[in-house]
Amino acid sequence: MTATPTIGTETEKNYLNHQHGLKSWLLTEDHKRIALLYLLSITFFFFLGGLMAVLIRLELATPAGDLVESNTYNKLFTMHGVLMIFFFLIPSIPAVLGNFLIPLMIGAKDLAFPKINLLSWYIYILGGIFTVYVLIVGGVDTGWTFYTPLSTSYSNGYVIATGLGIFIAGFSSILTGLNFIVTVHRMRAPGMTWFRLPLFVWAHYATSLIQILGTPVVAVTLFLLVLERGFHIGFFDPAYGGDPVLYQHLFWFYSHPAVYIMILPSMGVVSEVISTFTQKKPFGYTFIAFSSVAIAVFGFLVWGHHLYVSSQSAYAGMVFSLLSYIVAIPSAIKVFNWTTTMYKGSVRMTTPMLYALGFIGLFTIGGLTGLFLASLGMDVHLTDTYFVVAHFHYVMVGGAVMGYLAGIHFWWPKMFGRMYPESWSRLSAIIIFLGFNLTFFPQFLLGYMGMPRRYHVYPPEFQVFNVLSSAGASVLGFGFVIPFVYLTWSLFYGEKAPANPWGATGLEWTTQSPPTYDNFAVTPVVTQEAYQYSTEEVAHVG
């Protein structure tokens, strides 16, 4: 494990040098160590998925199919989607930062079920092994949505193995969510009432609700899909009487709420970061807290907006469209509250803050373009074009990944007790922001012009924007490699981090960096609301 060498010589006891050896990591029940196991594995899957993205963008630089053949191209975007969604973004913030921070933030020694926490990582890895196996033996070409009957009767990829991989990984997500909910209900320190919880915890609570209620549905859907693929018994294939639209309902019943699994934790990070670097309590704390829960609840009512042209009934489409707008309002509330928090604050442009502000801007654009898609008549033209691709990269990369990076940079000193070089990190944040926009903004225009997604070759009039997009992707990819390098560097050579480098509030900053195995020497007693800033604690950074 990369982290151990840095701490070996130190005298101070912390969770990193509490025990030594590979076994102490692979059998650990410490939520902090499990978080690092996750960090390592999701980073691996992110770069693997990123590699696919690079190949996709290279292929699309020219209209013809000159780099790879169509079959390979289809496998590329399928594996890209599967890896990025199920093996990177869904576990990202919850399993790394949530795992590490929730017990610290509520003043507990660990999550409620440490063994189950470790189990969830092993399950995740098992699912990952299936998927990597598929990648090695030849991939799968169905799109990450596995629409039937293509996936069940016509695909020439490894649908069963991939389906099982995701099925398995789903249980890891369920167990994480289960652990969080029980922990938040049962493990809060004395005095830590619900309305004293950091917004990060509220966001994760809402996320966990979705993980628990939604994931089992996609699990059973994939189970039926695998059966259908294996035995052709008619669940979803019209040739045997099945209904492909039923598959889509079941799939999106999970996968729409799943987009909130991806964004809510990021929103939690952003709330913390903005508050810290303006030294102000977030404006409208209760509104931000409840809007997380509202998004989780209403998020279950809108899945049919992915089915407007699928031959779903027009009336169902209308209901889903209306509800999609309702679920957008809590997001609007959050954006406005964050912005207002900055008003008359004491703003410091540190790296986490840069990412958080990037999040606000890019998520706003991504969310607003979601409103285009939620509008029935508009979506008929836009669905399955690059407009959708641009929309979801804005919310997932511009939103969720930026939030993830904000969080990693914010809590890095706490996790490893080291600071990273601030000038490098700010530079890379800016490169990523610019590269990102260059990659995905042209795709909105492409989409409106009518370029369909999942196209290996395309008519030449679309080339200009595709070239811009590919150019942006190389900037973006470069931008993502920089943090990987300096963060790794900082583990060995970074400046030692104090307990509270940012002058932040919250229990996690009251314990040493990195924390001890038991998190707190004595269980803290909470006497005041969150985000009460005071002058003494402010260190001089930024």
């Binding site: 604050g345 369909p452 009039e461």
Partner: protein
């Protein structure tokens, strides 16, 4: 009109295009307003309230109760809600227009197949990956697929619809400008998804008539259907003298059929299709389920012809092409193909 090598907007070539573009403009305006508002505020605050020196005081927390925090929250929930209700209403009304083909629409059948579009005109013309239509006429496509999901997308018309195996879907439009426009398959359908493309040719009526005349010769769809009705042996049972074993199909199209068990069902394309492939799924009141299934014997194209035939003997006004009782007798004469050839064709 060949597509230009670079453009920013797709051609406006149907009656939907301007209305969809107007909604798009509204959405862009609202989005631009909020994106800029947020961006400007964020940058302005970041600069104006930046921490200048290490010993800047901690800003006083805002007392939300006395500064009207609640009012702000209500305002910035209500305004977006209002704006988005416009998006909803506008989009929904457009969608209902896009979903409801006018009664006078000219019908064309489309069958998707990995990886091509097969198109059948009522007059009997068939084409692949090309669709010729007259300008300023309402066109209604009735679509189905032989294998997986596809999606018939014409960006210049701003409309699309999924094409599913085992069921019919509909798409309609009215082209306003002669020219050549892309057809894309917009639902991912396997290896050559991106090759499942073609062109719509929008032509002046006169040119279109000329084009039509050039491709006829096998008889209209209904006539071809009548042939199949004979060659597949439907006629042995569904005779018009109502022998009591089988329902007379004359005049059933579009009516409500009473089923065994008391339910009623509308005799539309989907019902006729089902009656041929799964005759026992819905049994007509008063009959025994003796009809054999024709699953595997009739292709999607063939089904379309049979449906057109049943339609043509239905109560539709102006359906003089094939008088019901004469149809089977007339069939061999009407088409240039023998019955065997028609059957063979249906297996291609």
């Amino acid at each position: 009109m060949e597509p230009k090598s670079f453009q920013l907007f797709p051609e406006q070539a149907s009656t939907f295009a301007p209305t969809v573009d107007a909604l798009y403009a509204y959405l862009v305006l609202v989005s631009a307003f909020f994106s800029l508002l947020i961006a400007v505020l964020v940058v302005y605050f970041a600069v104006k309230y930046r921490k200048r020196s290490a010993d800047d005081p901690i800003p006083a927390p805002i007392d939300e109760h006395s500064t009207g925090g609640m009012i702000l929250e209500i305002v910035w929930s209500a305004i977006p809600l209002g704006l988005s209700m416009i998006m909803f209403g506008w989009g929904a009304s457009l969608f209902f227009t896009e979903s409801r083909p006018p009664a006078d629409a000219m019908e064309i059948y489309v069958t998707g197949k990995q990886w091509m579009w097969k198109i059948q005109h009522m007059e009997g013309n068939r084409e692949i990956n090309e669709l010729h239509i007259p300008v300023n006429r309402n066109i209604k496509l009735t679509m189905t697929s032989e294998d997986v999901l596809h999606d018939f997308f014409v960006p210049a018309f701003r409309t699309k619809s999924d094409v599913l195996p085992g069921r019919y879907t509909t798409e309609w439009f009215r082209a306003t400008k002669p020219g050549k426009y892309h057809i894309f398959c917009a639902e991912y359908c396997g290896t050559k998804h991106s090759g499942m493309i073609g062109y719509v040719y929008v032509m002046e009526q006169a040119q279109y008539d000329q084009w039509l005349a050039g491709g006829m010769g096998q008889g209209t769809l209904a006539e071809q259907g009548a042939q199949m009705f004979t060659s597949l042996g439907c006629v042995t049972c569904h005779t018009s003298d109502a022998n009591g074993r089988c329902p007379n199909l004359k005049g059933i199209y579009g009516t409500m059929v009473a089923l065994q068990g008391g339910a009623k069902v509308k005799a539309d394309d989907a019902y006729i299709r089902e009656s041929i492939l799964y005759p026992e799924a819905k049994v007509v009141e008063g009959y025994q389920p003796i009809m054999p299934t024709f699953k595997g014997l009739v292709t999607e194209d063939g089904l379309v012809k049979l449906i057109e035939y049943v339609k043509s003997i239905g109560p539709k006004p102006g359906s003089t092409t094939a008088a019901p009782s004469a149809a089977p007798a007339k069939a061999p004469a009407a088409g240039s193909m023998s019955a065997a050839a028609a059957a063979a064709q249906s297996h291609e």
